[in-house]
């Protein structure tokens, strides 16, 4: 197994290299550059040209690429053109926000979805099952931004239960207990929104697995041995039904850094999704490339993690 993991990591290097080449080229082919948007009648086109020259934007793309990959290999992804900050620090700051938000989201997601999935599967075809199915279809169908706005208006503004924008209240100092609580408080509403929207897959998988398992031989055996139904569900069926969800766990973990553009925009929460979109519109090359590389790496890592997790939870699967 360790051998495989090391091999998988080694394969990542050429994969990421090809990805970097493609993304760098595509980024350069986009019309405009970081300075296009800065032009007003008062800015001097000569100065803009000077700055382009200084940042090497006039060189052919492959020269820029070689320069970039040289630095990137040493962990230096350059400066953001828009934020004028070190790309690593900028992404780091946003990644922390996104990571915690996603983590809270995922916890709430499973807290909602697993019981619902189990109930729907166990009592399938009952009114409860239909209600849960209806819920999961509706939540699947509602576009993110609509539910986010509804929740924000209702719980945030009308009822005033939750803060309406930002990631923390300015009155607390970093490091204090109040600061941490304020951070969590700010995360709750966006996290609930995300969780409500994402439950469908988990509910559906769990439900159909359980329905499937109910007719399996091992369940019948267990029942015939006289094990109470409650125990059969908790010990036998539940564990087996979690397999498909475990298969996604790797992606779920690495996906914690992905961020959601809609949720971040509507709740004014500075995270990775927004950073990605705004870096594309402002042609902030250094941020675009760094983010795509990061996402690429996470996707590869996610699939590896999923394989590892599967081999742990399902002894029939071996990584060779």
């Amino acid at each position: 197994m360790w051998k495989t993991i090391v091999r998988r990591f080694l394969i990542m290097i050429p994969q990421l290299f090809v990805l970097s080449l493609i993304i760098f080229m595509m980024a350069k082919f986009m019309p405009g550059d970081p300075f296009t948007g800065m032009i007003t009648p008062e800015t001097d086109p000569t100065r803009i040209e000077e700055l382009r020259e200084k940042h090497g934007l006039n060189d052919p793309w492959y020269e820029q690429y070689i320069r970039w990959i040289g630095n990137a290999a040493q962990g230096d992804f350059g400066m953001s053109y828009t934020f004028k900050r070190d790309v690593g620090a900028l992404i780091g700051e946003r990644a922390v926000n996104t990571f915690w938000l996603s983590l809270v989201s995922v916890i709430i997601l499973y807290a909602i979805a697993i019981p619902l999935g189990v109930l729907a599967g166990r009592y399938h075809n009952s009114w409860l099952d239909r209600l849960i199915i209806l819920y999961s279809f509706v939540s699947y169908a509602i576009p993110t931004f609509i539910l986010a706005l509804l929740f924000l208006f209702f719980f945030g503004y009308t009822l005033g239960w939750f803060p309406t924008s930002g990631s923390v209240d300015i009155k607390y100092d970093p490091g204090t207990f109040g600061y941490v609580m304020s951070k969590i408080y700010h995360m709750l509403l966006p996290a609930i929104t995300y969780a409500v929207l994402a439950t469908t897959t988990v509910i559906q998988y769990l439900r159909s697995e359980i329905i499937d398992a109910k007719t399996q031989d091992y369940v019948r055996t267990a029942r015939s041995k006289g094990i109470p139904m409650k125990k059969v569900y908790s010990r036998h069926i539940f564990r087996n039904s979690l397999l498909p969800i475990a298969a996604f766990l790797g992606f779920t973990i690495t996906g914690l850094l992905g961020g959601s553009i809609f949720i971040e925009t509507i709740f004014g929460y500075p995270g990775m999704g927004q950073l990605f979109i705004s870096s594309i519109t402002s042609r902030d090359y250094s941020v675009i490339t760094a983010l795509v590389m990061l996402y690429g790496f996470l996707a590869l890592l996610g699939s590896l993690l999923s394989d590892i997790i599967m081999s742990i939870v399902d002894p029939r699967i071996r990584i060779e």
């Binding site: 948007g37 100065r47 503004y157 500075p270």
Partner: protein, 603 residues
Amino acid sequence: MKNKSWSLMAMLLAVLLVLAACSDSDDSTKEEGSSTPKGEEEAGSNDASLSLSVENEGDAVEGGVLQVALVKDEPFQGIFSWELYDDGYDSELMDWATNVIFETDGEFRITDEGIASLEVDEENLKATVKIREGVKWSDGEPLKIEDLILPYEIIADPDYEGVRYDGDFQNIVGAEEFHAGTAETISGLKKVDETTLEISFKKLSPAVFYGGDGLWSYAAPSHLMADIPVADLLAHDLVRKNPVTLGAFKFDKVVPGESVQFVANEHYWKGKPKLDGVLVKVVPPSSISVAMKEGKYDLAQYFNATQWQEIKDLDNIDILGRQELYYSYLSFKLGKYDTANKTVVSDFENSKMGDVELRKAMGYALNIEEVSEVYYNGLRERANSMIPPVFKSFFDDSLEGYTYDEAKAIEILDAAGYKDVDGDGMREDKNGQPLEIKLAAMSGDQTQEDIISYYLQNWKDVGLNVVLTTGRLIDFNSFYDKVRADDPEIDVFMGAWGTGTNPSPFATYSGTSANNLGRYTTEELETILNNIDSPEAMDSAYRSEQFRAYQEYMEENAVVIPMQFRYELFPVNKRVKNYNVDYETETELHEIELVAEEPIAGN
């Protein structure tokens, strides 16, 4: 059986819902960033009631914190230095704690009311800046002449990466040498005594009175910043976290990208502010209207005027409005820019739009009045020239501009020989060849597409066949790429300029400027433009005359067709006792007062 039909139903339902979700989210991406109300419904209702200031009844409460919403759908950049920032939102934030040393009148001309006064010696190309005594930084240190010199040294530093080291700035004697590293100091800056700075220029124009020609209007705290290398400034706490400033409020806390807390500056030279502080938060455009209704904020900055419908009936706010320093225009490609020689080369003979009569007809054919009314609720209006009305001494309401007149457009085209030869309803050119005019227009919010289609129809109504370059609206970046590169696929294009506080049109229409995007230049126009910025124009009567000549020339020759001026809106909660957005009599920040403990919620 029962089961089967259920699952079939469920599947159909799912498919339907998915489809609905897809189409919804497609719409949403187009809408991103600017949700637009449906303008058609309220055609005719106008903004005539927009006022420039508000006074709310009631006794002022002691202190209080003004809650400000900065309407923006992404985090702010947070570069709090007048020398280094790029983004307008950062300057909006900095305004609460500004480092500006000059005050200006309603037309942005420097007055003697500020921290510093300006005297210009035109003969010797010198300006003398004198600072008041007793002005202190927010940390209590006195303001010195060195604080006025430092910004120049930051901008001219070889490591400076901003846009401000430009041709204008190099007008300061010695700036280029300092930038090149051949001089220790900028020779054109001379400290005369503890309160006086003398600046030497290579040339002087009336722009100097507006803070142009290289004159810098801000101070920087040299007692803290002088020893920090310019390359390190951008990341420094003095720029990002706790800048030291001169304004009514001072930075207290910054949550990067989200919010800034200001507190009253007890050292403010005009006196301690009546408020305890100001809290500015970024609020996404999607929820700002509800936030104003619920009384979360006292004031919204950068409120998108297209969302006016959503707040116009709220009873807990007043909506103030003022003309922006902005005009949109229709321009014609009449030549090329010669990058090597830095000159505009006009070619009227071979340009499709070379005929002034054709250009005029295109202007008269546009029903901009209707578009302003229907799509913008009167929050935009037809521009009569390229000088926004805020510049009272140069704006001239007697100029007609190209008011909508379909008959006149037809008449002009008929007279100029654009006839429909082949009977397809579209005019051919003077030689009877098919005439297809390619229009480049920028993509924007949802209404943008409708508006452009409407304009195309306007032209069709007078028999002109105008089609879109690339067949659709073009994204901002590609649009300017194509326009700047003089793409042959563009005959006419619709753009907009923010004019800034210096109304001089030299940068956008002179024969040497790459920003002259229409590539129109003639000797006559060049003379007028030079006159506007000539030493004689220091006499304001003469300058006004030249501005008038410029506007007449542009109109007669249809160099560009001015399209719209627009208003910016400021929703203000009724808790705020006094607020004024008139450039001339703008509220002094330290005098703002509140009449209630919390912003007032609407019904």
